[in-house]
Symmetry: C2
Subunit: 196 residues, 2 copies
DNA sequence: CATACTAGCTAACGCTCATAAGTTTGCCGT
DNA sequence: ACGGCAAACTTATGAGCGTTAGCTAGTATG
């Protein structure tokens, strides 16, 4: 009998779960399907995870924290609202072209987390939302942006970026850089800041 | 024993399913939960539907067809690209404020349909997508719009509207008309057509 | 060469789900 | 007043789920 010593790693389980959760949703994915992709029997997965739920928490937690880290790094040491918004949207939109599966799972299945994790994750997402909104508010106050409602503009810009995950094709002709550059222009148009 | 003659209607079953599907997703909703809301035993639901799957098909089919009807009615007898885009976005964004649950289910659970319905629904959605894209292409060709990629602009505008369903509050201070008017401005900004 | 560990495996559990079959009950038209 | 229908009910079935327990076989360590 052949049985290699480490045929499956924890990272491989998470990665496969990510792919299937993104395709069929958390509740629509069975552990047996993850096991099948990895060519392993279902109970063997438990050597690499504690539960199906933990898998979802890991994926969503890592992603949401990554978004905030990206944002902080992109806006650190920048004071100008236009500069801050530009770089915030640039990294946010690029992330959704390069991390499509993660974005889809976060947006579809955060509601499937149970408390208190669910509230924690929603708080983190709200933090990003309010940060973008503040930048827009600052820009309006400084007379650099022209928009009736910073809240609506913030929603529109963020969700526009999120949706990249739904249509972007990984092997396609258009690079993440091109997408993010174009979407950043869209965002600046929305707040009435024109093009850079 | 008291048992009224028609305590539950087909419409009530669909409506309750709509609410729960939007909240927890198709796979995350059990028929027993729908029955509980209607204060009825689970098997009684089968007096008003053929299967759980048919419920999803009804909801998604009606919604997707409604979107296309809305679009056709809004753009009929209009030739000017700016005029066409304005009204297309107006009805699309308003629909997502007034039909939040439907939009959430369509966007989350169309992938849970099985063939051939799934492909049919995706074809209808693509039809709307391409219609918007054509309007933008026409506007660019006529020198009325200024945008690098009509396809990207179309994605951005549509998904921005779709996301209204995710944050809009039904009883809130802001009306669907206000939202749709503001989002229409956003859309025109994206294509570089300025404000009306 | 013996030991301990690791990561597979099979078998089985308890639960929930969608759905089916057959039964009861109350209203409506004749 | 009564027969029939419609819509509820109870009960049951079989499939699939996540998870646990216990076993086996390779690998690395001493």
């Amino acid at each position: 009998m052949t049985a290699a010593r480490e045929s499956v790693s924890t990272a491989a389980v998470v990665d496969t779960a990510l792919t299937l959760f993104a395709e069929r949703g958390y509740h629509g994915t069975a552990l047996s399907q993850i096991a099948e992709v990895l060519q392993v029997r279902t109970p063997s997965l438990y050597n690499h995870m504690r539960s199906k739920h933990e898998l979802l928490e890991t994926i969503i937690g890592d992603t949401v924290r990554g978004v905030l880290d990206d944002f902080r790094e992109a806006t650190a040491n920048r004071g100008d609202p236009l500069d801050r918004l530009y770089h915030a949207v640039l990294v946010y939109s690029r992330r959704h072209a390069t991390h499509r599966r993660e974005a889809i799972v976060v947006n579809r299945d955060t509601s499937s987390l149970d408390e208190p994790t669910r509230s924690q994750m929603q708080a983190l997402r709200r933090e990003h939302e309010h940060a973008i909104r503040s930048i827009i508010g600052d820009g309006v106050a400084a007379g650099r942006f022209s928009v009736d409602s910073p809240a609506l503009a913030s929603f529109a810009i963020r969700e526009m970026c999120v949706s990249i995950a739904r249509w972007y094709q990984d092997g396609g002709p258009i690079t993440p850089e091109q997408v993010s550059r174009e979407y950043t222009e869209f965002a600046l148009s929305i707040v009435g800041a024109g093009r850079m």
